[in-house]
Chain length 415, copies 2
């Protein structure tokens, strides 16, 4: 049997054919993937039912089953998403910088694919198609390790991806799955120095932490979000109430949802009850400090650990601070450097917050839910990087590339 390493080697040796492919060829593959998803809907749903039946028997929760489930409507949406990637600008070949040196050498720094992108993710079969189509558009081979719970579904989807590539004359080896090796497949990817150019974990904090700690290959860390909103003394009431509510309630499970609200002590009487009442209407549980408790009947006492917690649910930590300085200190201590927002009417405080907060995205008078590749207009999102090297914040196609300097001479030597 072919090993996980063999599969990564196949991806690596096939990668250059995709790197050299034209945008037209890559787009043909993407359209074919979109077509095959519709054509093979029944087969995909049958495979998905096998996964669902097994996992239901194993006691998988309803919400995880829902995440795993594919029906014809969802397959249609995935197919549409693949077709949307056709319309995205191909980053490959873009000239970032260029100049002619005094000696006549012509330099151009151009975007090229990273090579082989590894992705380890959980049992969400849509990620299989999402990430493969973005990798193909950006000229990268991809090695996938999906959750074991989606094994049958992913087997059908990976075959579909490979068939689509072959049908348009590209190498089907550029898409590989190591699912058949279970957890070992993921571990082999983490150690595949020289075979995996970048490894992207997509999933919960546990998965990300494991990959960051154990990987020997370069990793892009995504999606860890202990996100804060600071309601300053001068905040507008309606903005404070609606932004905090939107940032928590519109989708509490995602990384750009707010987890902690800090309120300036001088704004407590005017703003805090209104903010908390609006949250309570939507069933949000408030974990607050003593001042919060004095202003809101249903406060659960907040622990130190609560302020470091990404709730992923209808829970929120609330703390009253003495000043902007104290808010900045709190954020510096607990932030995962994803997104932080200030609600204020004071321009000096707004500018200071923008300058001093160290995070991928810093906002004034806006909901933290806007930190998103789709909202930013990238047309697609690989993830939201919370690290500083290579990519920071929402990652689109350009973040799946590296660059190469091309130097064209006519016999120049260095003096």
């Amino acid at each position: 049997m072919i090993s996980a390493i063999d599969k990564m080697k196949l991806a690596k040796s096939a990668y250059s054919s995709l790197a050299q492919a034209t945008t037209l060829q890559k787009n043909a593959a993407l359209s074919k993937i979109a077509d095959l998803l519709i054509e093979r809907s029944e087969e995909i749903i049958r495979a998905n039912e096998i996964d669902l039946a097994r996992e239901a028997a194993n006691g998988m929760s309803e919400s995880l089953q829902d995440r795993l489930r594919l029906n014809s409507q969802r397959i249609m949406a995935i197919s549409e998403a693949a077709r949307n990637v056709v319309g995205l600008q191909d980053p490959i070949g873009e000239v970032i910088r260029g100049m002619t040196l005094p000696n006549g050498l012509k330099l151009a720094q151009v975007r090229v694919p990273l090579g082989v992108v590894g992705v380890i993710y959980e049992a969400r079969p849509n990620v299989t198609i999402d990430i493969a189509t973005l990798a193909i558009k950006s000229g990268n081979a991809v090695v996938l390790r999906g959750g074991s719970a989606a094994e049958s579904t992913n087997r059908v989807l990976v075959k579909l991806l490979q068939d689509a590539l072959a049908q348009v004359g590209l190498s089907s080896d550029v898409v590989q799955s190591v699912d058949e090796f279970g957890r070992d497949g993921g571990l082999e990817m983490m150690r595949a120095v020289g075979l995996i150019d970048v490894l992207i974990p997509r999933g919960g904090a546990g998965l990300i932490q494991q990959v960051v700690t154990e990987a020997k290959v370069p990793v892009i860390q995504t999606g860890d979000g202990v996100v804060h909103i600071f309601v300053d003394e001068s905040a507008r009431l309606d903005w404070a109430v609606e932004i905090v509510h939107n940032a928590k309630v519109s989708r509490p499970s995602v990384c750009n949802a707010v987890e902690t609200v800090l309120v300036h002590k001088a704004a407590v009487d005017r703003l805090l009850p209104a903010i908390l009442d609006r949250l309570a209407e939507s069933g949000v549980r408030v974990h607050g400090d003593e001042t919060t408790a004095a202003n809101f009947f249903a406060t659960i006492p907040a622990t130190e650990q609560d302020f470091a917690t990404e709730w992923h649910d209808l829970d929120i930590s609330v703390r009253v601070v003495d000043s902007l300085d104290e808010a900045l200190e709190h954020i510096s201590k607990y932030s995962t450097k994803h997104t932080e927002s200030i609600i204020t009417e004071n321009v000096a405080n707004a500018e200071r917050f923008l300058a001093e907060v160290d995070a991928s995205t810093v906002m004034v008078n806006a909901s933290t839910r806007f930190t998103d590749g789709g909202e930013f207009g990238f047309g697609a999102e690989v993830g939201i990087s919370t690290q500083k090297l290579h990519a920071r914040g929402p990652m689109g196609l350009p973040e799946l590339t590296t660059t190469k300097w091309l130097v064209r001479g006519s016999g120049q030597v260095r003096v």
Copy 2:
């Protein structure tokens, strides 16, 4: 006594003051550093003599002693280099991208410092000032670990850097040295997750390999160079001879010097003897395959290992290949992805080489010695990255930065 970790914590907490400093303030610090180098020349030379005397007694080679030695002329050159950094454009605050979203949110992606840059290097005291001035200009704190052999010299230089910062009203804590902890200082840096934002090893392959293997913090890998020149069938004689000679002989110890020449078999009679004779005039030892030996009297038989060797000296590996394909295969197998060059008159081969070779810099009809921040017009060089993430090729000041998205709103929430 203060520990290595304490020193990194000091750098981290002081960093934001430098990150917020204006270009004028940072330039004042750089000018002060340049001044103090001249003022304190004698003190620096006395400290350097202590290092030299100890290392000479320990049997340090003449060439390493020369690398360690500072005299007033060399100090003058280091001072001038520091003053040159004043003239470089400050990358901090540069807006890379910006847009207004349909809902009115104003986005700007701006360059910000990485935070704390760690550098581990060998006994070249000029690196202490070089890297610290580049870090200061780009708003980064820096933690230095120089070679133990330069301990006394570096102690005086680090004190000078800190004094200069204090004299212009900046925090002297943004420059830290962990030299006093010897090798442990370097090891602590490699493990200082959350304190060191990026670690750059500057030195030989052994040091770089150790850092890449052992570091838990993000690393930028620099300077590993098994560099090739492919002399194609149609290469011009004079260009082939002079480019190969320049790429090997002008400075054999550096990473952009050529290590292996591949010659198309159809060009052997016309070009190979002339290329090798010119190299031999400069004392280059030729490690060649059988065809090379048949064309050059003094060929040393090349081993497989020779083709993977970065000679760092007046040695060169030579191999005759059947085709451009075979040249590309050889390069793909042995390249460290630093710089590769083709000498050719054939435009199709030139374009194919540029497109298919995977390296930081790919050249046509030019000496590989041009891969250099100074030559590329960056005004300074942090190192030459041979990795794909974050930076690739010569690194200037912008490569010491990350970005941050600033979002200015007026109450927007996500629908």
